[in-house]
């Protein structure tokens, strides 16, 4: 009996000594360890957050941040050769694919809000934007109030749509809404004169203008009509994965590397988007640079 107990205790210690962290693994990290592969979900046309680059691979600001997080996962799991599987997602598929385990992390331009947090978890805020109006120059439109009696394109189901409709209701503005499926269609509606303005996140408007046929004919106007902080998505109820991700982001923010990655993509960035860091985002980086 005594001998058995000794063996058992020895076995427990041996297990604890060799396995260390592994005994505590759960959720995404456990899944990644067992499968030997991490599935990175990415958007394909969210310029410059996550889009298909000239070499056919996803690149962008958020993608860079995700690779930093994956590096940390490799180090934590001691799996330097961990395979990375790239899975393209859309705004419709990102939640189901994350929930059912097809992807382990989503890298794109997803607004972090409380309603959505019922289904998924967000890492630290990595970008801050808000709703503005893209208009043709010379249209005389400066603020949303100038759209009274005019037409605007809104992307279906976006936070921008909510914001515009709310303000219009509060101000009693009579605006004709034209719903579109995605950004290129919203832009087409503005280009062909079907609408007088296209409302979306200001950073996306600058991106659309930089790619437009006649960039000089358009500009971004108005005050911010909503507050849209972007975040990387991970599965819910997975503190270990969330802590790991936030540690990486806090490290980047503390060391100033975050700002360098920002400048690489936005100032001026490969798509000439020319958006120097805003004071709000700079403050957000400072606030989120948590100490050890």
């Amino acid at each position: 009996m005594f001998k058995k107990t000794v063996i058992l205790i020895a076995a427990v210690f041996a297990l604890a000594a060799t396995d260390g962290y592994a005994a505590e693994l759960y959720g995404t990290l456990k899944k990644v360890k067992e499968a030997g592969v991490i599935n990175m979900g990415h958007r394909e046309a969210s310029v410059p957050f996550a889009y298909i680059g000239p070499k056919g691979k996803p690149i962008g600001y958020t993608v860079d941040l995700c690779y930093k997080i994956i590096d940390k996962i490799k180090a934590t799991l001691k799996m330097p050769n961990l395979k990375i599987k790239l899975v393209p997602v859309t705004s419709q598929t990102r939640i189901p694919l994350l929930a059912n385990g097809t992807i382990d992390i989503e890298c794109g331009s997803t607004t972090n809000n409380l309603t959505r947090s019922k289904q998924i978890d967000y890492l630290a805020v990595t970008f801050i934007t808000g709703t503005k109006l893209g208009v043709k120059k010379g249209s005389g439109i400066k603020e949303i109030e100038d759209l009274n009696g005019k037409a605007i394109a809104l992307s279906l189901g976006t936070t921008n749509e909510k914001a515009i409709k709310r303000v219009a209701k509060q101000k009693g503005l009579k605006i004709k809404y034209h719903m579109v499926k995605d950004h290129p269609q919203g832009w087409l509606a503005l280009e062909t004169g079907r609408v007088d303005a296209y409302a979306t996140d200001d950073v996306l408007l600058y991106g659309l203008i930089s790619k437009a046929k006649k960039s000089k004919n358009y500009n971004v106007v108005g005050r911010f009509l909503s507050y849209d902080p972007y975040g990387i998505m991970v599965r819910r109820d997975d503190s270990a994965m969330r802590l790991l991700g936030n540690t990486v982001l806090a490290d980047l923010m503390r060391s100033g590397e975050m700002q360098k990655i920002y400048d690489k993509w936005f100032n001026p960035g490969p798509t000439k988007i020319n958006m120097p860091i805003s004071s709000t985002l700079k403050t957000a980086f400072e606030v989120q640079a948590l100490p050890y």
Partner: protein
Amino acid sequence: MAMKYNWDWSVLLCRPPEADPTGAVEPGAPGSGSTEFGGGLGQTFDTGAECAQPYFDWIVSGLSWTVIVACCAWVITFSLGSVIGVSRTVENRTVRAIATAYVEIFRNVPLLVQMFIWFFVVPELLPEDAGRWLKRDLPLPEYWTAIVCLGMYHASRTAEQVRAGIEAIPIGQTHAGLAMGLTQTQVYRHVLLPVSYRIIIPPLTSDFMGIFKNSSVALTIGVLELTAQSRQIAEYTFNIFEAFTVATVLYMTVTLIVVTIMRFVEAKVRIPGTIALGGD
């Protein structure tokens, strides 16, 4: 691994809130705060309530638009399809060529592409005033476009069924009709069409169901039908599975109703011996 998902079917029953949850302070109003985003703590957004939006009403509205768009499109489909289908069987070569061209063009170009052409390209090809009217002054332009586009796309398919129905009738009946002194038109009116329409009820049924399902393509030009509203709810709440499950169930219900009605019509009008009728 088990799916991490918070099921919440109750969002589908959300009705408009009693009082407007949005406060009086407009977010980002000039001078209302110190940050770039204007409001700071004074910002009022949707409350955290489960029912931030009347999702139930969205589904009802989406379903109604699906039914309206599909039924209006079917009127075009049936009338235009009949004309084209008959035209494909007449003796006049020009008429036949035009009808054949119509069928080949509208049947062979994907519906999605046709939707885009009608909505984005056609207004640009018209004279400026007409184009402007289509884009700006016509009320609900996306709905009209969707109805016309769907109707004309499906008309090409219905035309083929009408033609097949007419050609299925032995040529002797036409000859007999002509021999009795009926004109060509009268032969169609009294001999060919009454029989052929009865024969083609089953394929017409599947085509009618097809219109309901294809009406979802109209969301790409901004028609807020059932699929669009489901997507909208999914985006707002992130309860994606619930939103699309209800859409699936509603589509199936609608098509089942269509099948039931058409079965009834089929049984009522059938001519014994012309069609093998299942289910009785």
